[in-house]
Symmetry: C2
Subunit: 119 residues, 2 copies
């Protein structure tokens, strides 16, 4: 935690807070999570993530792509195939999300869909 000492005053645009904003959206963490194992198609993500609508998933993926966290690949096939994958910038968020998952299980009595991990 040496970084703390270098920071004697904090502003609202502190780097930690900008990162919070990046992942504060309701679906960001779970969508990044869903992309963590490799490229995935829109429909596969839809099946993977409980409770998200097709429209909201599309909006979330667009926002993540605009922030450079996700890359969209459209393959010129019949029928057309579109896949999404994490960029390096997106992948670097995964350890943070994983730490937050562990914190949630320890302190927030949360197991959600991850009951097997919590057992």
């Amino acid at each position: 935690m040496s970084g703390f000492d270098a920071c004697d005053s904090f502003l609202a645009d502190c780097p930690a807070r900008l990162t919070v904003e990046l992942i504060a959206d309701k679906w960001t963490a779970v969508v990044l999570y869903g992309l963590s194992k490799g490229p995935v198609r829109h429909g596969e993500l839809l099946d993977l993530i409980g409770g998200i609508s097709r429209k909201v998933l599309t909006q979330t993926l667009r926002r993540l792509a605009a922030h450079g966290l996700v890359r969209r690949h459209a393959y010129a096939e019949v029928p057309p195939r579109v896949e999404y994958e994490l960029t390096d910038k997106g992948r670097d968020l995964l350890p943070i999300i994983e730490s937050m998952r562990e914190y949630g299980m320890q302190w927030l009595n949360a197991d959600g869909a991850c009951t097997s991990a919590a057992a």
Copy 2:
């Protein structure tokens, strides 16, 4: 990242997302950060955190206390002294906030008030 494999589907109440909600408020990360070195008085926090108003700091501290992240100590002195300190539950968020600070400096071109740490 072994936890990922245990989780085949994700819901909105995934533990990671509950943790995101806990720290998503604009001031939570910086206030926890400001308490990281030990008990601090309200006025000291106000000086430490740029841009926060007295009222918003009070509201934030109340919310953090309600979530069990911060403890309030009122000393029966003249003049009365009130200090705030992190609980274990609050302290366990610090490594996550520190990881987010590092991420922000690497990927979001953020240095904010932490220019000496970014140098």
